[in-house]
Point group: C2
């Protein structure tokens, strides 16, 4: 008789938080991904149009880890009207030697929030100016908050600008970020105000048309675009991709199919074979990231299964060490 460990969101929140350890874990995962040893298939995605819903499944196998994770992320966009969260889901950790199910992490999307924010910090570490002090965020959701928290762990941020379509939500988001980071936070009047006033900008929206345009760029800027994870989403104008000095991403193939690179190739502003720096390759020193304080850099994050395997196996180890969870004999 085998056992499966069931972990609740509450237990998972106790086990792992967005901290410098999570950031380091995700950075290492990207290095493994770019080193070519990881097996990571394309994302499974299913749309349920009559429900305004979708589900994504991601996975990756990292040789050397004792487990691999499968992450299931539903997104149902009418949920907020019912007072429910848009996203939910879970991660499954399998034994890497037998394939057997070891644990179910009922995180309702929490671990995805953590690993996504951690990836933003990794992107800033790899590409943003060391002396960046002014940050900005486009969007007012959970990731707007978490991305700014993560960024403050890796750069000495002094001021943060927030922009969202809904001024009330932007104000609430600014308050939350100020409380969480102890940094001075202001609501900006426009995307252009955020970008021109910041050294580092993170875009966190599900936008279907570009928010950041080429006229907003200025020397030394770093942009992390984390909103687009599907063909129809687009936060960055195709001209921007052509103008930046370094175009980086978590996974080249995904950015070219689901992310910002996809739109730039489609618009013809960049060639299909344009040079792309994967974060992992920059982190491991295989290819350069920012080489000059005045360069403009951009990192497109589409979200990868290797992040899920990294956070899930780490979280399970912490939970086991703490005796968390309900064991189901099976």
């Amino acid at each position: 008789m085998r056992e499966v460990l069931i972990l609740t969101e509450n237990e998972l929140r106790q086990a792992v938080t967005l901290d410098i350890e999570s950031v380091s874990l995700i950075g290492k995962a990207f290095e493994q991904l770019s080193a070519g040893t990881v097996s990571m298939p394309p994302i499974l995605r299913m749309d349920m149009e009559d429900k305004n819903g979708e589900v994504d499944v991601k996975t990756a196998y990292v040789p050397g880890l004792d487990g691999f994770a499968i992450k299931v992320s539903p997104g149902f966009f009418d949920n907020p009207k019912k007072g429910l969260s848009t996203t939910s889901g879970l991660m499954i950790v399998h034994d890497a030697d037998t394939g057997f199910v070891r644990a179910i992490l009922l995180d309702n999307g929490y671990l995805t929030d953590v690993r996504t924010a951690a990836a933003g910090a990794v992107a800033a570490q790899a590409l943003a100016r060391e002396n960046a002090t002014r940050a900005g965020v486009i969007g007012t959701g959970v990731q707007a908050r978490l991305q700014m928290q993560a960024l403050c762990m890796v750069r000495s941020i002094e001021t943060i600008l927030v922009w969202g379509r809904d001024a009330e939500k932007a104000a609430a988001c600014a308050d939350d970020i100020e409380r969480a980071t102890g940094t001075e936070v202001r609501v900006a009047d426009s995307v252009a105000d955020v970008v021109t006033g910041s050294n580092i900008v993170v875009t966190t929206t599900p936008s279907r048309s570009p928010l950041i345009t080429a006229d907003m760029l200025h020397p030394g800027l770093h942009i992390t675009a984390m909103g687009s994870d599907a063909e129809h989403k687009n936060e960055i104008a195709p001209e921007v991709i052509a103008e930046v000095d370094v175009f980086a991403c978590d996974r080249h193939q995904q950015s070219a199919h689901l992310g910002e690179l996809h739109h730039a190739i489609g618009a013809g502003t960049v060639p299909e074979d344009m040079p792309v720096a994967e974060l992992g390759a920059i982190l491991s020193g295989t290819i350069p990231g920012r080489t000059d304080a005045d360069q403009i850099t951009l990192c497109d994050l589409t979200g990868t299964g290797v992040q899920d395997t990294a956070i899930a196996t780490h979280t399970l180890a912490v939970c086991l060490a703490n005796g968390f969870g309900t064991k189901i004999a099976n």
Copy 2:
């Protein structure tokens, strides 16, 4: 606070068995699939070569059902050397209105076994001669046993021939089938003996080279090929696909990429646009199946997410009605 219901293999085995109700359920699922209302993305597949392992994820959304399932099927082929089963895994049932996780079905592959065998019975119902009495099975694993049990529910089978590469395993399989079905079962000397001596043959192997060749075909034969579910697997010679009167399958697109059709197209024995009858279309009467007792028919089963959603949502309903499972507050 929401609840997630955790169901063990034991509970699932009590809730659902391979019976005529499961067969009917799977037949209905195929009809829905071929009617075009179902959303079913391509299978996610990841190989872990250094572990001789793989994992498949399947899903489908059937409008009208209150849930959709995601099925995770690991296959680790060194497990038997350790005294462990090759396959394992689980199904997750999500609420179709919110995407939230309703239940985890820790079936270790049991529900896949049931829905796969049920699909074999559906294929025989749709395509085999009404008066078929002689059946044969190639392979000696769990599906060899279950396919013959399922077949005996839908046709009046009097004798069964079994062939496997390992004579000892074939004998054990024959004994098990005889006990389960009450039918006379014999071990055959060759694949050719099975095929020439049967009205209905089911192939259940992971073979990488064809087992059934064109010279074995005879009038009135029906073959169900359920072994191939990946590019490199192949049970039926390309010439056979060209010679049969009706080529059917569970899902055209999958057969053309992962199944027997894929090899025939690759070998050039059939054109890419050859007429293919999906099981669901035959069952709903949209296109004819067998129209003459002397026709030779073949059905390629690659396994579909719609079967998983059908069996999982049905099983969950039975479990809820019986008060099965462990509720986890989350």
